[in-house]
Symmetry: C2
Subunit: 412 residues, 2 copies
């Protein structure tokens, strides 16, 4: 039995992680939870999983949660109420909670960075679903991993696929430890991309995109921010940067291939030219479960893949004109240092503006590009954590300012 700590328990990854823990009670025991503002759902999760500790960023929410817990009927109430903590310090306590064997990091965006670093410093195994940890802070995280012996186990679909395929290679040990060292026998990674909500739209039609269009994903059920990232292909661009840090490959050896059915979750090409692929239905539960159960596999009654029923899998090279965010991500990745943090923060801010209908869909890449260009002269190649946090804040402000200044020149 593994004890797990779930950071971001009320989000998309968090709820799925807890569903898994509930489905396999012999395998997993939840010892710590952190959430944001969804107290109703958090309360339900506490009742089911009875964690030892719960943390929330805001003190007021901790007080509200305490009241909610005290108001519970005796029949409904956990035998032992969890210890409650607040603030960043509270999140870090939950992330490094001693009894936890593995920490699932499901906090979206840069907010997950510091708690994840706390878990790494505590030497926990990390089921990594928070892309930003590595993308923004790769140069800070990799040395910490080496120092603490903490292992990153990818919990998103594409990197899990690569991780699964790598297990049987002579280079699994390297890759597993996220040393950032290139593995000579791993020649190439192919990240598959569904093509997102607009894969069948012409570049011209993208002028008519609404928020509703951009938040409807054809294959995957995910959060709104990630669904927009999937429509711009920034999601895949960020995954390229993550794969670079996780598996130590140069950017020219990490490719994106459009695969509308989302059945092949990613592929690796080995030195001898053999290609290994991992497949499954588009469901985040399998990669989360694998990160939680690795190196073992747990038998599930989940829907089995049937290729004869699916009949066709198709593939094509991505259209860089249609998806400028992809080019921006490769470029930021190659610049390295603080640039991926800027890219990531600018993207988060631009997508948030789009979701609030403050900017048009097509302005997302424009805002990101301008912000990255402005950062070139300030680029730090070997940043520390303060540098990362500073450029993250700077990029967000920059996007806000750019959006206000230029709001009239963008198409409505």
């Amino acid at each position: 039995m593994k004890a797990i700590s779930v950071l971001g328990s009320t989000g998309s990854i968090g709820t799925q992680t807890l569903e898994i823990a509930e489905e396999f009670p012999e395998e997993f025991k939840v010892v710590a939870l952190t959430a944001g503002k969804n107290l109703d759902l958090l309360l339900k999760q506490i009742k089911v999983h009875q964690p030892e500790v719960v943390a929330l960023p805001e003190e007021t929410n901790v007080l509200k949660l305490r009241d909610l817990l005290n108001d519970l009927d005796l029949t409904d109430r956990p035998k032992q109420l969890p210890e409650l903590f607040s603030g960043l310090e509270g999140l870090e306590i939950a992330a490094s909670w001693e009894p936890a064997d593995i920490v699932i990091t499901g906090i979206v965006g840069c907010a997950g960075l510091l708690p994840t670093l706390a878990a790494i410093k505590a030497g926990k195994d990390i089921a990594l679903a928070n892309k930003e940890t590595l993308i923004a802070a790769g140069p800070v995280v990799l040395p910490e991993l080496k120092r603490s012996g903490s292992r990153l186990l990818p919990a998103d679909s594409e990197h899990s696929a690569i991780f699964q395929c790598l297990q049987g290679t002579p280079w699994a040990e390297n890759a597993r430890l996220s040393t950032g060292i290139p593995t000579p026998g791993l020649r190439n990674i192919q990240l598959t991309a569904s093509g997102g909500a607009f894969r069948d739209w012409s570049t011209n039609d993208l002028r008519k995109v609404t928020v509703e269009d951009a938040t409807s994903h054809p294959n995957w059920s995910m959060g709104r921010k990630i669904t927009v990232d999937s429509a711009t292909l920034m999601n895949k661009g960020l995954e390229v940067i993550e794969a670079h840090y996780l598996f130590g490959l140069d950017y020219e050896n990490i490719e994106i291939v459009i695969h509308p059915q989302s059945i092949i979750h990613s592929m690796i090409e080995l030195a001898d030219s053999s290609v290994l692929a991992q497949m499954g239905w588009p469901d985040m539960k399998l990669p989360i479960l694998y990160a939680m159960s690795w190196p073992n596999r747990i038998a599930t009654p989940w829907k089995r893949l049937n290729l004869a029923e699916i009949q066709h899998l198709s593939f094509k090279a991505p259209d860089t004109t249609k998806y400028p965010c992809m080019r921006l991500a490769y470029s930021a990745g190659k610049s390295g240092g603080t640039m991926p943090a800027v890219l990531n923060a600018a993207n988060e801010e631009a997508v948030a503006l789009f979701l609030k209908e403050k900017i048009h869909f097509l302005n997302i890449p424009k805002l990101i590009e301008s912000t990255c260009e402005k950062h070139i002269n300030e680029l730090r190649l070997d940043p520390n954590l303060s540098d990362i946090i500073y450029v993250d804040q700077w990029a967000r402000k920059e996007v806000q300012e750019l959006a206000q200044k230029n709001v009239r020149q963008f198409p409505k």
Copy 2:
């Protein structure tokens, strides 16, 4: 550097093995060869690879080869002429030649069984390209493997794919050793089949099949016998039986899926519902190389797979009416004991008759089915080697007699 012994060096597998040895001289050294009658090619191979020992079944061919070697110009002649041996004993000497680390078994049909058994008894690692060893003699071979510690490394495309996918699973050790023990975490195997020469023919059109039609494979370049087996899907049926012995799965968990592009070479489904696949161009060299280099992988300059260029992969369930041989193979496999040996021998004999234009293509399954039915009452569930050899001979004679007796009632 690995020392290799090649059984059947002038055949399809043998020549490709020697091409690999020539391409990677730092990795492999050829120490023993056996061949049949193609003395010209064998002579060339001896000049290039300078093996320590060469064996041929027929004494007269050994004498001819000795003359050919003695007639060579001094410039052309190996520094040290190989020792020459003849007969089954000679083949067994080459198969168990002491310096060899690994024996590649490329002899087609049942003729490869005894030399392969000699290699197993000598504790060699076996790169197994001779299907019949396991299919006909599984019940004899598995205990020998256990006794000697010899390891079967599949060198054909489908089983290599499964073997490659299995490497990273918690059950790799079991599967690798061909213990015949079911591996609880391996839920299912999907063997892909191109559908052979007649995949786009209607069942009705099969009445018009000629030898030329049946020996033209759409994807793979292979020997004539195997190409016909591919057209009847008996090839895949035999692979199902081989997979049963290699990976210990029940027959209901070994499936065939038609995949015309032959890019996915086979798949495994694990207990958690994850599916792993191995892909590559249809080229036997890669699986042969992997069996030779396992557990390492050797960097090659071979053509790289590009799915965006291939664009489409398709899949469908096989049509059991069109491919009766598939049903016969499953049925023989489930009967077990001596029945797969009967199936295999009857198939070899029926295909040989077809290639000599003595019977029609559609009579291949009929002859096999009648022969298997006749064997039911004689079935031995725990056969020894003599039983296997006896039923092999019996089945061949039976097919010959049936073909002569019934030749008029089969369509011409």
